[in-house]
Symmetry: C2
Subunit: 215 residues, 2 copies
DNA sequence: CCCAAGAGTGAAACACGTTCCTTCGTGAGT
DNA sequence: ACTCACGAAGGAACGTGTTTCACTCTTGGG
């Protein structure tokens, strides 16, 4: 958390070395395996004890890698958590591609996917707290991972809007609406995580936003 | 940052001891003076070097109080920064009460106040980074201060919406719209602070949101 | 089969938020 | 003026994120 602006190592050019931060696919099998273990450990610790429980030493131990190795893979705790979030979100996107979203209207379908996701997050409050905190704290060096998260959320909402798994055309206005909905969702999630809103409030605030935006 | 949920000391009942966290007014003159010095030091350090530069030891030194005293007044760095943010925002609200907001339409007036505030923040990027980060990281124990910030923002937008300094009636729907605008503004600010949006993007995203919501 | 280079290891060290303890100064009540 | 309670001072100490470094292991090319 300390040096946010400095950030020399790991130029991130994907081409450079190997299984770096934003390269979930590159590297040897052993490296992908290590990366997976690290992210698993992260999720597991976060699910148990939230942001504070994701301690780098603990992650390293549980993933059975050395602390130095952990830092080679993820240059900071924030990168680690945001990457974990990205991985989970990506899973969701894959699932949403399988079949059409239920619901008669765009409003219903959007609420369906967002509520489903919201409830999933709320079932693991500690995990969500950790991930949202990390997301909020992320600085420029995490842009890649964050963009990944944003994209998958946009994709899911766009699909729900149209009601079909294919992406089709998204107009400028639709894109703007989706961004706003995402913003509201994120804000609500923050409020929930920090104890300023309860589950009902979250759902309601998104519902209102969607209604106002789709009219 | 470490113990977020535990938090024994300082039961915050305002009645208890004195110049505590959420009591800008109570306490002896010397205590109010200390509090002021602490917040001044916070703003000053934040303006120079951002979140990371607001180090508790440095704040204590610059405010000429002991570290222990600093912690007596503000139980964590987050409380400290959010309190500072609240103080600055409150000043703004006071100013906005003075005269009617310029602009023909609600859209214009809202953009006017939000852009003005946005630009003010952007003139002090480091300070803004520090304050936004703190705001994001705040947990339940900071609810009071955060609510204060939220309220003043709402007030300012409501005034701009109606174009008059008096608060008048705010309908349910208007309140909902204001909340959404605040959410978008906050998200944009986060994106800006974390280097994922530039000044233009911030303005544009708010403009689009206001347009979509006020049509 | 051997070697150089890169990856991984482990431990120590550092930085900074936070806690804790001990001592001092001061103002209110007597 | 005396004492007592309490806020403040000052600083040591602790926890955890991050860095560094010397060393070992793995691996792919000759």
């Amino acid at each position: 958390m300390t040096s946010v602006s400095t950030e020399p190592r790991n130029t991130d050019d994907a081409a450079s070395t190997g299984a770096q931060t934003s390269a979930p696919t590159g590297g040897s099998a052993a490296q992908r395996e290590r990366r997976r273990r690290i992210l698993d450990a992260t999720i597991s610790l976060a699910a148990e004890g939230g942001f504070d429980a994701v301690q780098m030493r603990a992650v390293a131990e549980q993933a059975e890698v050395a602390l130095g190795t952990l830092y080679r893979y993820f240059p900071s705790k924030i990168h680690l958590l945001v990457s974990a979030l990205a991985r989970e979100f990506t899973k969701d996107v894959d699932r949403s591609a399988i079949r059409a979203t239920p619901g008669e209207t765009a409003h219903e379908r959007i609420m369906y996917v967002l509520n489903r996701r919201t409830r999933a997050l709320q079932k693991q409050p500690k995990l969500t707290e950790a991930l949202v905190r990390a997301f909020m704290f992320a600085d420029q060096s995490v842009t890649g991972e964050i963009h990944e998260v944003g994209t998958s959320l946009t994709t899911v909402i766009a699909r729900a809007m149209h009601g079909t798994p294919d992406h089709g055309e998204v107009t400028e206005e639709e894109a703007a609406i989706i961004r706003i909905i995402s913003d509201v969702w994120l804000s609500a999630l923050i409020s929930w995580v920090t104890g300023r809103m309860d589950e009902k409030d979250v759902e309601k605030s998104i519902d209102v936003a969607v209604r106002l935006l789709l009219r």
